[in-house]
Symmetry: C6
Subunit: 215 residues, 6 copies
């Protein structure tokens, strides 16, 4: 199952816990950004509620642009594509909210998400983490697939009582109630920041041919 | 229930009273603004009538831009995101009108809404407050959750007669018929105004690099 | 019923007569304009036919821009919001056409509509007033609510024969067949004109900071 | 029936013959143009086929812009509103094509359509006139309402045999197979042309305030 | 049937063979171009598949812009209207692909299509001609209406065996498998080219009034 | 079957393996690019899932723009048309993902795809290749049609066990798990690059006629 759990750190990728008709499963959220005009595209047979979750996650991140060291017009000059494989499997619900936010933060800061961590929780515009359903099934699936650490909403702690002793010993289960905590556990810092890239900027300039002549 | 009643003052947040199949409940309205092109986005499984309420609330506020100390092109340079958690629960109806207006005013003036106050009432473009349904259930829910003060439409006073003596003693119930009164009770002033931020403007300029050189 | 009949003169507001499943009623049409890009927004659960009425009313007014003393690009620099409370009650039909036109003229000229007057009638692009249904019920409702004067399409005069003597004595019923007459009776003049506001224009300039320096 | 048959010459108005469940009737097509961005709006509960007819009629006219003495960017700087009262009555079908074209030509050239003339016929992009249904009913309705002259597609001549002698004596029925003929009969000339308005252009300039100062 | 078979050469017109519930028929495709912003409009009650055919035909032609002697930004400065009379008759299917392409090439090069030729065949983006259905019915209809030459997909040759001897003697049936052949047979040359019109360009300039003054 | 298997190398074309109700088949993906504004158009009766596949394939390629030697604003200045003949046959599913990516890479780099190769596999935003259904039927169809080499997802190797010995001897079946491998096998290099065309750029300039005259 190595490929499904995404062992490698990668930029713009986060692992969610999903609750399906067949029990718990994990979901990979992929985010790419490229030059554009501020559009957000979401693919992977995503339902209305999950689309709204992605929009809420993006707005939360826009409101933290300064802390993430993103320039004023950062979001107006890129397009964002959020994709959730497998492309033919319908997905919905609010519980991917914090996973979407983590993948988006990773994509815009270009900082990879920590390895072997998965998460579930609804996000609000202010970054609060709301409880979700299917916790028991999600945790069992994470354990089965080899995840080491999972983040769950604080209000879902009560749902853990039924888990087998063995699972609780292997898995680190971290309750969270705000994105600040989610960010700390997924990036290893409370303040992930995009690095300025003055070199790249300098390289680009000649292509535009608008260099001021200093003489 | 501390997190649900939003004890902390926060900018861009207001608490409404909702009437659902399960009785009364409270609803948090969240508003974020960020650099943009004048778009309004509403998420949280919001029905047609409630979407139109949000648009009416926004237009009312646009017509008061000068009084709120917002610049001429203020609304053309931002995008506004209104979200109503929980994201998977469908919401509709006109009764969140004044709550939407209060959250929007808080967001654009950057002034927090007073604590422990909830409200219900349809808004018109001119700021009149129209009566709504489910007053008894809404008031009982507010009391149960720990709200101190609620605003209801003046024309709904007649619906209060059936409330238990005990509830009427604990809760301050304020009838309103215009947004002027709603604003006074939620912001503590009839004239909330956005502070000018000349410092920030000055800081931004160097980023644009278009300063005329005077020599 | 003071609030429903809108006793106060107000800008951008006109009172229509509606014909519902429950008999006649009055409808308030609210119009706000603000800086924008030429968009028209119509809210209040408005059906297709009534939306087209609003568009026809607006086009009629655009064709009279010069007579209303509106500048060449007046409509390209504003957005217009038409709202018809109560927001949850579906409304439709062509009979609000002239009321929509009156509310729009009031909003763009900033001249209030006369008090205690209500109206019904379909509008055409050229300002003709076409007959509508439910005249008897509408007139009775206007009388009941305290309206003093109502405008009805000339071709609906035949529908008045069944009204009680007492109603015809109290109410002034004015037949109209063109918007010229509607405008005269609602604004007290055949030529309502927006006042030039050179002072305001002068005040705006410094905000843009593009003043040529004459030295 | 004076108002229905539009006895007065008016700009942007043409009279069509319609075939309804209740037999033949006449339809007034109204066209307004005003400053805009090249948009076409069609109201009056118009079905898909009739909307496409209006678009075909407009494209035909755009292809004749030079002959109509319209400037190169004439259509990019105006919006066009086509309305067909009565606003609540659904209308459809291709047979209003030539009437739509005549009303549009009248609106853009500012030349009124001749009096007492009505017409029916599908239009193609190249201005051909195709046959339509309900000719007998349409002609009888035109006669009943007081129309003097009607234009019908040449291929519909065969449908006239069943008309009463009396109707054929009173009505002038003119078969047409191309818009050239339709234009000749409705405008009294094969080449209606918009008058240049140099005076108006000169008056506009001071409003823009961008005149270079030559000194 | 003279008008249906379009005896005259005309620009922007091509004749297709259609297969309907009533047997074979011919379809005229009309294309107009005029100043615009790169929009494609398709009218005539056209179904999804046929709309996609028109888009594929247009893309094929855009990819051949240089060979057709069209300027770099040719397609960005025009709007294209494709109409298929009779406007009320629903049409669909991929078999008008090559006819759409021929009408579009004629419109953009301003070169008329040869007389008395009709065609059927699906087009691909690279100009390949794919087989279609109803060949026997289409050929019989072409013969009945007086068409002299028809183009059919090479892979449909096998469908011709059932045609009567007499039809095969009168009609010239040309199999094609690429648009190169279709273009040769419909324009009489493999390389139709739009004529430069320097005179017209020169005439336009004074209208814009932005001529630099050289003194 | 020569035309179906596309024996010739061509730019912007790739061959997929499809799984239909009638068993396996091959699908040609065609891509054209031309001057435009960054739009993506997909035709050929393509379902939602396959449309999302095309968008994911395009985003993957945009994220590799630098490696493909595409300029910064390359994708903003072109429109892309993806077409999948036969135009009337509905197509859907995620399994054309890598074929879409290969056809797109060929179109934007102007490098033809190798001959006699077909492929199947879902693509993710990061270029991973996910398993698909119908492998046995697809391979048998490729063999029947004369394909020499096919690429299948690594995770589908297990589906090959049931193939006849004879098929496994004739066909080269290459398992892939990332687009890097797909690109190597379809272009013969891991790094296909668009050639700079300075000559063409130089030729274009005179067409714009805005050359500054230095004298
Ligand atoms: Ca899975
Ligand atoms: Ca859930
Ligand atoms: Ca709740
Ligand atoms: Ca309610
Ligand atoms: Ca009422
Ligand atoms: Ca009515
Ligand atoms: Ca009538
Ligand atoms: Ca008809
Ligand atoms: Ca026919
Ligand atoms: Ca066919
Ligand atoms: Ca096939
Ligand atoms: Ca599949």
């Amino acid at each position: 199952f190595q490929s499904e759990t995404e062992k490698k750190d990668e930029i713009g990728v986060a692992t969610g816990l999903a609750w399906t008709a067949n029990g718990g499963d994990i979901t990979t959220i992929e985010v790419l950004t490229f030059e554009g005009k501020g559009n957000l595209q979401i693919t992977g047979q995503i339902g209305d509620v999950m689309q709204e979750s992605a929009q809420a996650a993006l707005s939360f991140i826009k409101s933290k642009a300064k802390q993430l060291n993103l320039k004023n017009d950062f979001f107006e000059k890129i397009d964002i594509h959020v994709h959730v494989p497998e492309g033919a499997v319908p997905k919905d619900g609010p519980s991917a909210g914090i996973t979407l936010a983590v993948a988006l933060i990773s994509a815009v800061t270009e900082i990879p998400v920590k390895k072997d961590i998965a998460m579930t929780g609804e996000i609000t515009l202010r970054g609060h983490v709301l409880p979700v359903g299917g916790i028991r099934e999600k945790v069992l699936a994470a354990n089965r697939i080899g995840i080491k650490t999972i983040l769950i909403p604080e209000k879902n702690i009560k749902d853990l009582v039924e888990l087998p002793e063995q699972v609780r010993n292997v898995l680190e289960i971290i309750p969270v109630n705000h994105m600040d905590q989610v960010i700390f556990h997924t990036f290893g810092t409370e303040t992930p920041k995009r690095k300025e890239s003055p070199t790249r900027e300098t390289k680009k300039k000649p292509e535009k041919g608008n260099e001021p002549v200093l003489n």
